[in-house]
Symmetry: C2
Amino acid sequence: MLKVIVIGSGNVAQHLIKAFKNSEKVELVQTYARNPGKLKHILSLEDITGSLQDLKEADVYIISVTDDAIEDVSKQLPFSNRLVVHTSGSTPVEKSDAKNRRGVFYPLQTFSKNKDVDFKEIPLCLEAEHPDDYNTLEKLAKSISPLTYSISSEQRQALHVAAVFVNNFTNHLYVLGSRVCDENNIPFDILKPLIHETADKIKTVSPINAQTGPAKRNDKTTIQRHLDFIKDPMQKDIYTLLTQSIQRTNG
Amino acid sequence: MLKVIVIGSGNVAQHLIKAFKNSEKVELVQTYARNPGKLKHILSLEDITGSLQDLKEADVYIISVTDDAIEDVSKQLPFSNRLVVHTSGSTPVEKSDAKNRRGVFYPLQTFSKNKDVDFKEIPLCLEAEHPDDYNTLEKLAKSISPLTYSISSEQRQALHVAAVFVNNFTNHLYVLGSRVCDENNIPFDILKPLIHETADKIKTVSPINAQTGPAKRNDKTTIQRHLDFIKDPMQKDIYTLLTQSIQRTNG
């Protein structure tokens, strides 16, 4: 049975800890947290260490800390030539200290503290410097999700950009939509079925074929009426730029 | 039992026809289509007329044609003082000819020809010039969906703008995300769980609280790395503008 140690206590770390604990194919040997109290709701305290010096032996060490801290934490590890991976979407594999065998274990999903996720539906993007280590990572990944992908650091960088578009920016469009509702005494709930259908549609239709609306139809009257309606200059800019981008895709 | 006639044969018209046919509380008396053949897969030909002059008597006439044609079709109706509504999100109620009692019956959803929708989950935005007519419309709406809302022409205009943000523009962000994947030999499927979770989250968390990512964290290093990665000038502009808009929301 693969032995794994999670280093970190943030959102992603906590979701990983829960997933490994629930898996029968992996042994979660130990977890490191600067402040062990942060994990006491999901682990018993004897399974948590507050000192990197006390880390036990394992097949894989998963560093799940903020991007800025990955380099530093990897340097502090008191051992060498073991498999050490990080979970960051935007950090190259080389950022970890080279004294250990390096890799990446990046779950491509948005995690909230208060919302459980089903790991079986989360794509795990894997990278390792050595083929043997890749096999180990794949085995570890398959223990919690069938969706594993071999993704290079460069591809991961691309994926992270794409994820910002489809997740962060999309959510911001929801924010703008909800603001328009607020300003006009319309309950935001009225937009939720549309939001869900928009996401649901691309299960069966490619996004390019799912595109609809005034920009796609080049319906100048409606576009102008909308621009007249929007008072906020930055919202107007967003409307104009995204309309242009849709129209360029048409052409 | 309420008698309804649908005028039109497009996407929305076809979904409405199916919904009314399946409802036990409404009688779909007749449908008008310029080209009756377009509807023969869902109606028998004797229930379709190709001439507005042949329209029968009904409690509600629903004009579901392109925005530009609403005025013209409403003028051609060979009767007066009946309840005539249109289904457009962006057309004021006054656009219909005043010889009839006017209203709006706007289903706020994105409709595709090849994808069935469950009307029970579609908000119906209702407007009528006369209170009695509003009651009739509400009864008609409730026959196919519990989600009915009284929405004025001005609110409907706002809703239509909000819908462009959360539907058309969101879908375009999916297009941009899929393009980044294509350019880097990554299957777009890898982004789908993230897209669905993004939409799913706002069932329980308000969009403003669901916001994550480098812009929200003001993570300048990652933002700059992403901007260096994106080569296309318009995509770079979109990244920059939406990042600014998120950061303004933070402040």
